[in-house]
């Protein structure tokens, strides 16, 4: 039986007439890197705020580490590290002093832990500078340092690569699997599909306050695989395929045929074409990307 670090059942939250979250059921297994994916305003951040006790659900229940958040919020939240939306710190304090401040609120890491966290996000050299003088990327790094400061079991990162340069983005993407390898569970909220696909092994897709798909990343994309076939004489080969058992699933796109659901039937397709004198130059299974799966599930293109 899998151990759920996060369990949210029937979560609802409305702001006036606007339903920010409308019946979200979410489970995150221990040790997973879980991606909450969706366009801006789809309910990800509101859900995260409810997971962290910053917003009270209108309905539904949140459990962290198997216990109800409402009953044990402080005890449970001390096992969580999070960055919600933009990292927020005291502007007149240095990066190091901001971590010292958080360490005073929830002691445990000590000076050594603070230096370790700073080092891990490559912020040691700039740690003496005031937070208000930090670039957006440095603020993000400090946010992550704060999230990992107290050696949490669960780390929730909301758009952690916002404002980071490509190098910084890569470092964070490398850091997330490292954190998971240490036995932590990571929840990554992002609207960047390729980011989620690269680092997350499980995904929930948010749309208009609901989760429209949830599961292992591989499962979500596996259902959307197809066979690409390229033949020099496309017209004649098209006629052969149109008369084949896969006829209903064949469509032509950018100089290739794509046969839906025939990912493991490359040999049969090749044999059929060859028997008619057409020799394929390319036959290969094409795994749909998470982006394609997302667009197919949500039907949304513009905001992602």
């Amino acid at each position: 039986m899998p151990e759920f670090v996060v369990e949210a059942r029937g979560l609802k939250k409305a702001y006036g007439e606007t339903k920010a979250v409308d019946g979200v059921d979410l489970v995150v297994e221990r040790g997973h890197v879980f991606g909450a994916l969706g366009p801006n305003g789809s309910g990800k951040s509101t859900t995260v705020r409810m997971l962290l006790g910053l917003a009270r659900p209108d309905a539904g229940d949140v459990r962290l580490f198997g216990e109800r958040l409402g009953d044990h919020a402080p005890e449970l939240l001390r096992r969580v590290g999070a960055v919600v939306e933009q990292p927020a710190f005291v502007p007149y304090l240095s990066g190091r002093d901001n971590l010292r401040l958080l360490e005073r609120y929830t002691p445990g890491a000590g000076e050594a832990g603070i230096e370790r966290a700073l080092d891990r996000v490559h912020l040691t050299e700039a740690a003496h500078r005031r937070f208000k003088n930090y670039s957006l990327g440095m603020k993000q790094r400090l946010g992550i340092a704060a999230a990992i400061l107290n050696d949490p079991e669960l780390i929730i990162l909301d758009e952690p690569t916002n404002g980071l340069d490509p190098q910084g983005t890569r470092e964070i993407r490398e850091l997330i699997p490292e954190l998971a390898a240490e036995g932590r569970t990571v929840v990554l909220c992002s609207h960047l599909l390729h980011e989620v696909e690269m680092v997350c092994d499980a995904v929930a897709i948010f749309q208009r306050g609901r989760i429209v798909a949830q599961g292992q990343t591989k499962e979500l994309t596996r259902g959307h695989t197809r066979l690409e076939v390229r033949v020099p004489d496309m017209e004649a080969a098209g006629a052969v395929l149109a008369a084949s058992p896969w006829a209903a699933n064949v469509h032509r796109e950018d100089g290739s045929f794509f046969i839906e659901g025939a990912i493991d039937q490359g040999v049969e397709v090749n044999r059929l074409l060859a028997s008619q004198g057409y020799y394929a130059s390319v036959i290969r299974p094409v795994q749909q990307t998470l982006e394609e799966a997302f667009l197919e599930i949500t039907g949304e293109v513009t905001s992602v």
Partner: protein, 296 residues
């Protein structure tokens, strides 16, 4: 003490330490204290300049001059300087308390702290304690400045130094306590408003607005008849004056800025009404912070 209580007390202590860490590194803290001390000193200097001009020719002017000179003497340093301080300290402490809480919303750091498992009431408790401690520090500092100015003035004009005994020390301590107490309703009002509006600017503006505008409403209501005319009895300034008179009324004829006259409600009633306001504001701030979403 049970393990649970010990843990809870430890967490509360952590919240207080964190607040101390913030407040002592905040430039605003030192600006407020510096401005306050300067205002107290400036006021003593202005009054000294007035006294240097002499009493004037008319009898009423002479009485005013005598009262003013007496107010600045070391003998009256407790009632006079504390009443003077009370005014300026209220301004400074309202700004301190409002920004202390409101800035946490403006910077969104309140969410960072509470999402790390800090109990909400611990967070507000630490703020409330900081507000009280700052008020005491502010008054002590101002009192030291006033004592120095008054000593110099007393020496210059050969005025009455008053007694130097245990009773005097007790007077000073109770005077500081009284003055702290009458400032706290405004401090906690500022704390409550910054919690309600999640903003420093609005809270400080509204609290100072009430502080300055109250006198106008009291004058209007005093002119009314029936039950409405009793409403000012529950306003701040009437009860603040009632408590501050306990520090010593030293002029029955008026006689200059910050010199209290006699009359008004008894001290115990002033204490009671202000205690009720303090309780209301503190409970309101705690309740609002506890019940409401930190971020929307």
């Amino acid at each position: 003490m049970s393990e649970r209580l010990r843990e809870e007390a430890g967490w509360l202590w952590d919240a207080l330490q964190a607040e101390w860490f913030k407040v002592t590194r905040r430039r605003m803290t030192y600006i407020c204290l510096g401005v306050f001390s300067a205002l107290v000193l400036l006021f003593y200097v202005i009054l000294w300049l007035r006294i240097r001009e002499g009493p004037g020719d008319r009898a009423s002017e002479f009485a005013f001059w005598i009262a003013l000179r007496g107010a600045l003497s070391f003998r009256n340093v407790v009632p006079y300087s504390l009443n003077l301080e009370r005014f300026f300290a209220t301004l400074v402490c309202v700004i301190f308390a409002g920004t202390m809480m409101g800035n946490e919303y403006d910077w969104r750091t309140v969410g960072v702290v509470t999402s790390r498992g800090v109990r909400r009431w611990h967070f507000v408790f630490a703020k409330a304690v900081s507000g009280v401690v700052f008020t005491v520090v502010c008054l002590l500092l101002g009192f030291l400045v006033a004592m120095a100015a008054s000593a110099w003035f007393t020496n210059l004009y050969g005025l009455n130094w008053g007694a130097f005994d245990a009773a005097r020390v007790a007077d000073i301590l109770t005077g500081l306590l009284r003055t702290t107490f009458v400032i706290l309703p405004f401090v906690f009002l500022s704390l409550l408003l910054s919690t309600v509006w999640r903003s420093a600017g609005q809270a400080v503006g509204a609290a100072l607005g009430i502080f300055f505008m109250e006198g106008i409403f009291i004058a209007l209501l005093n002119a009314a008849r029936g039950w409405i005319s009793y409403l000012p009895d529950f306003f701040f300034s009437v009860n603040v004056d009632a408590v501050m008179r306990g520090n010593g009324t030293f002029s029955d004829n008026g006689g200059g800025p910050f010199i209290l006259g006699s009359g008004g409600p008894p001290e115990w009633r002033g204490l009671l009404v202000l205690a009720a306001w303090i309780s209301l504001f503190v409970l309101g701030a705690f309740w609002r912070f506890q019940r409401r979403d930190i971020q929307e």
